[in-house]
Amino acid sequence: MYAFDFEKPTTVAEAVAALADDEAQPLSGGQTLIPTLKQRLAMPSKLVSLTGIAEMQGVCTNDAGQLCIGGATPHAVVAAEAASKYPALSALASNIGDPAVRNRGTIGGSVANNDPAACYPSAVLASGATVVTNNREIAADDYFQGLFSTALEEGEIITEVRFPVPQAANYQKFVQPASRFALVGVFVAKFADGVRVAVTGASNDGVFRWTEAEKALSANFSPDALNGLSVSADGMIGDLHGTPEYRAHLIAVMTKRAVAAAS
C-alpha cells in the first residue's frame, strides 16, 4: 500500500468538494478498494470516506413505491431492511461474501465498481433501477458500460439507488467455491409490463440483459418457456473456474431456477 491522505466528510457536498482534488478517490466499505491498494494496483493521493454521511445511509420507500437505498448502506442492512419489501434483493444482499464483507461493503461501492462477478449489478439492471448521484439520475440501462466501467464521471458519487419493486423476482447465484463470488448469477424480475432478466459473472462485457429469455418469459412466466433457449459461448468469460461454454450453459440453468423460485 502506498501512503495517502484521508478525509471523512459528513455531507455529500463536502465529499464532492474533497474529491475535486486530483487523484482523490471515494472510499466506502473498502472491501474492494482496500485489497486493491494492498496489491498496489491503485495509488490515490487521498481517500474520501463516504461512511460518515448520514444522507447516504439506510433503506426507505418513496412516494412512487420505489425502494430507495442510500449509496453507503452496507449489504447487511439491505438484507435486513429489504426483507419484507423486496425479498429477492434482500436475499441477494444476504448472500454476498461473508459477514465481514456484508457489514462493511456497500451498495454504492459495488455498483460503482461494477465487477463482472458482482451480484448487485444484476439486481439494478433487472429491476430497471435508477442510479442517483450527486448531480443526476442515471437509468440502469445507461449506467453499466462493460467490465469495471460505468457512466460515472470523475468525482461523481452514487448517493442512492432506487429500485422499482417487481411483482415477483428471484436471484440465483452459482458460487465460485473459493471466493464465493458469482461464477454466474441471474436476476429475474417480473413487472406488470414485462419480465427483465440480467446476468452477471458470465460475460466479458460485464452484466447484461438476456433479451431472448425476457421475451419468452413475458409471454409465459414459467421455466418451460425457456426450453430450447440458449446463450452463445462467444464473449463469455473463460478462466480457471469455468470455460465459456460452461458459463453459457449455466445461464440457462440459473434462469430456469430463478423463474421456478419466483413463480
Binding site: R40, F174, P177, A178, S179, L240, G242, T243, Y246, V253
Partner: protein, 727 residues
C-alpha cells in the same frame, strides 16, 4: 548406554506384553492445549532482540541472467538496511533427505518466481515495499515452460516383469486409456518461515522444517561451514505435506543475511511466494493399459507416465509406484519420462506417486471391470498376487482382501445398483471403490530416553508437523516404562538432540518410534537388573517394577537419572520382505446433472497399517488423507502462465483445497488389527499417506457409476463434468 540396532529379523511383540495399557489408546495430544491457546511456538512467533526483517525478491523471467539491480533507489526507503545477493543463496528447497545444498545459481535465473535477493529492513513493511519496488535488469533467454512442448525429455528404461507386449496382444479384453493430472501444491497452513541468529561462527536457525537431521547438513553445506556449527530448531511445524522436507530459500537467505548484518534476521514467505518457490507436485500425463482374460484374470499391466522437473533436480513423481505391486499379471511394464522445464521445481507432495498415479490406475481397473461385466470389487479380489509381481518378495503383512471385503460389507456394496440409474431430483447418485496401497519404510533414527524415578524424558530431533509425534512417543515410552503418559516429557525438533528420520514418507512414527522403543527397552533391562530379575520377567506398571517375586517403585530403583540412547536402521528384512500399508476406499457421490457439481456424500476407508499407536491421531491422519483424495479428484488444480511458467493460482482462493463444505459429515475410518513383524520392532507401518492413496479414485469411480461417463482429466471440475454429461 548406546544401542545400535539393525532390523535383520522379526522382533518379539513386546508392546503386546507390556501392562501400562496406554499404547494404541486414543489419548489426547499433550501439545493440544498449547496449540489451541496459541502458546505453541511456531517459527515466526519468535522475534529475538535486534531482529531485522527480510523479504525475498523473486525473478520475473523464466530463464536468463541478472545483469543489475537498482539498489540505490530502494536503499533510500526509510528503514531499509540492505539488498543482499549472495552466491550461496539457493534456487529452491532441498529435496527430501538430500542432506546437501540445493542448486545455487549465483546470478542465473532458472524459473519465474525464483528467489534472487533478500531485502532486509527494520520492519516487514519497509522490506516488502523495497522488495516490490526494486528494479532488476535481466538478460532473458528463451525457455521451455511446458512439459508438452519442451524438447528436453529423459525416458528411463522400463521396469518390467514377464513379457508385457505378448501378454497385452494376447489379452481377450483390453483397456488402453490416457489420463492427466495437474500440478498440485502441498498447501500447508503455516507459510514457510525462518529466523537465523549467529553467535560467533555458530548459527542457530529456527525454521518450519520436517527433517531436522538432514536440514542441518543442508544448511551447513549451503553456507560452506561444518555441521557442528549449525543448530536447527523446529519444535512446532504447522503442516508440511512434503513442502518442508528440505531446507528452503528463506532459511538460506536468513542465515546469510544474519551473518552479513551481525543481527538476527527473520524471513517469512507470503502465501504467493510459497506457491511460486516451494516444490510443487508435478503434473502428470499417464497411460494405463490393462489386459485380461474374459473371466477376469488380469494378464497384462502397463502404467507409463510423463512428469516434469527443472534441470538439476533428481526427483521424479513416482507415479506408478503402487501399480507395480497391487495386482499380478503375466507381463508388467512401467516407463517414466521426465520433461525438463523452466518452472517452479517439483518435489514430494503428500503421498508422491500414489496420490495421482492411483487416480488413473484404479479408475482403469474399474473400467476393466465394466468391460468384463464384473463387479469391480470381485475383479480386485481375484487378482491379488501372492508375491511382489516385479521382484518376487513376499509381502510382510497384507490384509488387502480383508480391507476390501470388510469395507464392502460396512459400506453396503452388495446393494450397488446399475450405473446411471439412480437419481434424487437433479442429482445422479453413484458409489465407487478403490484399493489403497502405500509402501512402508524404515529410516535410520536415534532417540534418547532419560528416567528419573517415575518421570521420563524423550529426546530426539524428530518433528511433529501436526501429526501427533508428541503423543505417540509419550505413549511408547509410557508403555515401555510402565508410567502414566503424563509422566513423560517429549522434546523434539532440536538438532542438538539425537538425529531421527524426520517426518516424511509416513515413516516418522515407525522410525523415530522404534528408536524410542529401543532406548526404553535398554532402560527396562537396567531396571530389571536393579530389581534383580530377568528383563523378560519384568513387569512395569504405574511406576511399580515387578518380577521374580520382587517388587519396587521406580522412585526407589531409579533415584538418579539413568539414560539410554538407541539407533535403528533398516536391515535384512527390507530386502527379504516387501512392506506396505493396504486398504480400501469407498465413496458415494451426487452429481448435479445441470451444473456438474459433484458432492461427496459419504466416505469409508478400511485400512490395515500395522499396529496403531494412537487411535485418535491415526484416525485424524487417515481422515486428512481421504480429504486430500477429495481434493485431487474434485478441486485442486495449479495453473501457470503458458508463456513464462508463472504460477497464477497462488493463493487458497484460486487453489481450492477441500473446505469443510466439500467434505461429508459421514467420513469413517476403520483400522483392521495388524502387526508387521518384518517392518520394525514396534510392528507399525506408515499411516498418513495411505489415507490419500486410492481415496480420490474411489470418488472418480463413484462419478462413473452415477453418470455412466468416465472422466480422464482430473480434477473433475464442474465445467468438465457438464461437458462429459453433454458429450
Amino acid at each position: 548406554m548406546k544401542d545400535h540396532f539393525t532390523m535383520d529379523s522379526p522382533q518379539p511383540r513386546l508392546l503386546d506384553e507390556t501392562k501400562q495399557g496406554v499404547i494404541g489408546t486414543p489419548m489426547d495430544r499433550p501439545d493440544g492445549p498449547r496449540k489451541v491457546s496459541g502458546t505453541a511456538d511456531y517459527t515466526a512467533d519468535h522475534a529475538p532482540d535486534g531482529m531485522a526483517h527480510g523479504v525475498l525478491v523473486r525473478a520475473t523471467i523464466a530463464r536468463g541472467r541478472i545483469t543489475g539491480m537498482d539498489r540505490d533507489t530502494v536503499l533510500g526507503i526509510d528503514g531499509v538496511i540492505d539488498v543482499i545477493t549472495d552466491p550461496r543463496m539457493i534456487r529452491n528447497p532441498a529435496q527430501g533427505m538430500a542432506g546437501s545444498a540445493p542448486v545455487q545459481t549465483g546470478d542465473e535465473v532458472h524459473y519465474h518466481g525464483q528467489p534472487i535477493a533478500l531485502v532486509v529492513a527494520e520492519t516487514f513493511e519497509a522490506a516488502r515495499d523495497a522488495a516490490q519496488r526494486l528494479t532488476v535488469h535481466y538478460h532473458a533467454e528463451a525457455a521451455a515452460v511446458s512439459p508438452e512442448t519442451t524438447p528436453d525429455t529423459e525416458t528411463d528404461d522400463p521396469v518390467t516383469a514377464g513379457d508385457f507386449d505378448s501378454s497385452w496382444s494376447a489379452a481377450e479384453v483390453q483397456i488402453d486409456r490416457a489420463y492427466t493430472t495437474p500440478s498440485q501444491a502441498a498447501a500447508a497452513m503455516e507459510p514457510h518461515a525462518a529466523i537465523a541468529d549467529w553467535q560467533g561462527d555458530h548459527v542457530t536457525l529456527r525454521s518450519a522444517l520436517q527433517m531436522v537431521r538432514f536440514n542441518k547438513a543442508e544448511l551447513a553445506d549451503t553456507l560452506g561451514i561444518d555441521p557442528s556449527k549449525v543448530r536447527i530448531l523446529a519444535p512446532f511445524v504447522g503442516g508440511g505435506f512434503g513442502s518442508k522436507l528440505g531446507l528452503g530459500p528463506e532459511a538460506a537467505a536468513a542465515a546469510i543475511a544474519a551473518q552479513k548484518l551481525g543481527r538476527p534476521v527473520r524471513v517469512v514467505m507470503t502465501r504467493q511466494t510459497v506457491f511460486d518457490t516451494v516444490l510443487r507436485r508435478s503434473e502428470t500425463a499417464q497411460r494405463v493399459r490393462l489386459g485380461a482374460t474374459k473371466d477376469g484374470r488380469i494378464t497384462a499391466i502397463s502404467h507409463d507416465d510423463r512428469v516434469s522437473n527443472i534441470d538439476g533436480e533428481g526427483f521424479a513423481e513416482p507415479v506408478s509406484q503402487a501399480s507395480q505391486f497391487l495386482y499380478g499379471a503375466d507381463g508388467l511394464s512401467f516407463t517414466q519420462t521426465v520433461a525438463r522445464i523452466a518452472a517452479t521445481p517439483a518435489g514430494s507432495v503428500r503421498a508422491p506417486g500414489e496420490a495421482v498415479g492411483m487416480l488413473a490406475f484404479e479408475a482403469a481397473i474399474d473400467e476393466l471391470a465394466d468391460a468384463l461385466g464384473m463387479d469391480p470389487l470381485e475383479l480386485r479380489l481375484k487378482n491379488l498376487p501372492e508375491k511382489h509381481p516385479i521382484d518376487g518378495r513376499p509381502y510382510s503383512a497384507r490384509r488387502l482382501a480383508d480391507c476390501l471385503t470388510e469395507g464392502a460389507a460396512r459400506f453396503g456394496w452388495a446393494d450397488r445398483w446399475q450405473a446411471g440409474t439412480r437419481r434424487e431430483g437433479d442429482w445422479l447418485i453413484g458409489i465407487g471403490m478403490a484399493s489403497a496401497a502405500r509402501s512402508n519404510m524404515l529410516v535410520k533414527s536415534s532417540a534418547r530416553v532419560r528416567l528419573t524415578g517415575d518421570q521420563a524424558i524423550v529426546e530426539t530431533d524428530m518433528t511433529d508437523i501436526g501429526t501427533g509425534t508428541y503423543a505417540i512417543l509419550a505413549q511408547i515410552t509410557a508403555e515401555m516404562l510402565g508410567l502414566p503418559a503424563a509422566n513423560v516429557t517429549v522434546r523434539l525438533g532440536d538438532s542438538d538432540l539425537p538425529g531421527a528420520s524426520g517426518s516424511g514418507g509416513s515413516f516418522g512414527a515407525n522410525s523415530a518410534g522404534s528408536a524410542v522403543f529401543l532406548a526404553a527397552r535398554k532402560l527396562r533391562a537396567e531396571i530389571a537388573e536393579r530389581l534383580g530379575c530377568d528383563a523378560e520377567g519384568l513387569t512395569l506398571q504405574n511406576g511399580q517394577a515387578r518380577g521374580d517375586n520382587r517388587e519396587a517403585a521406580l522412585t526407589e530403583l531409579v533415584s538418579e537419572e539413568i539414560l539410554a540412547e538407541a539407533t535403528i536402521q533398516k536391515g535384512k528384512t527390507a530386502k527379504s520382505h516387501f512392506s506396505s500399508g493396504f486398504g480400501a476406499h469407498f465413496a458415494e457421490v451426487a452429481v448435479n446433472e445441470w451444473t456438474g457439481e459433484i458432492r461427496v456424500r459419504r466416505m469409508l476407508g478400511v485400512m490395515s497399517m500395522g499396529r496403531i499407536l494412537n487411535e485418535k491421531t491415526a484416525r485424524s491422519q487417515a481422515l486428512g488423507g481421504m480429504i486430500w483424495g477429495i481434493g485431487a479428484a474434485l478441486t485442486e488444480e495449479m495453473q501457470s502462465d503458458p508463456r513464462d511458467g508463472h504460477i497464477v493460482t497462488r493463493d487458497l482462493a484460486n487453489y481450492h483445497v477441500p473446505a469443510h463444505a466439500d467434505v461429508p459429515g459421514d467420513m469413517q475410518v476403520v483400522f483392521l488389527e495388524e502387526r508387521d513383524d518384518w517392518a520394525n520392532p514396534i510392528q507399525t507401518k506408515g499411516i498418513g499417506e495411505l489415507g490419500i492413496s486410492g481415496a480420490g479414485a474411489a470418488v472418480i469411480n463413484a462419478i462413473s457409476h452415477a453418470t455412466s461417463k468416465r472422466a480422464y482429466d482430473y480434477p473433475v471440475l464442474p465445467d468438465r463434468m457438464v461437458a462429459l454429461l453433454e458429450g
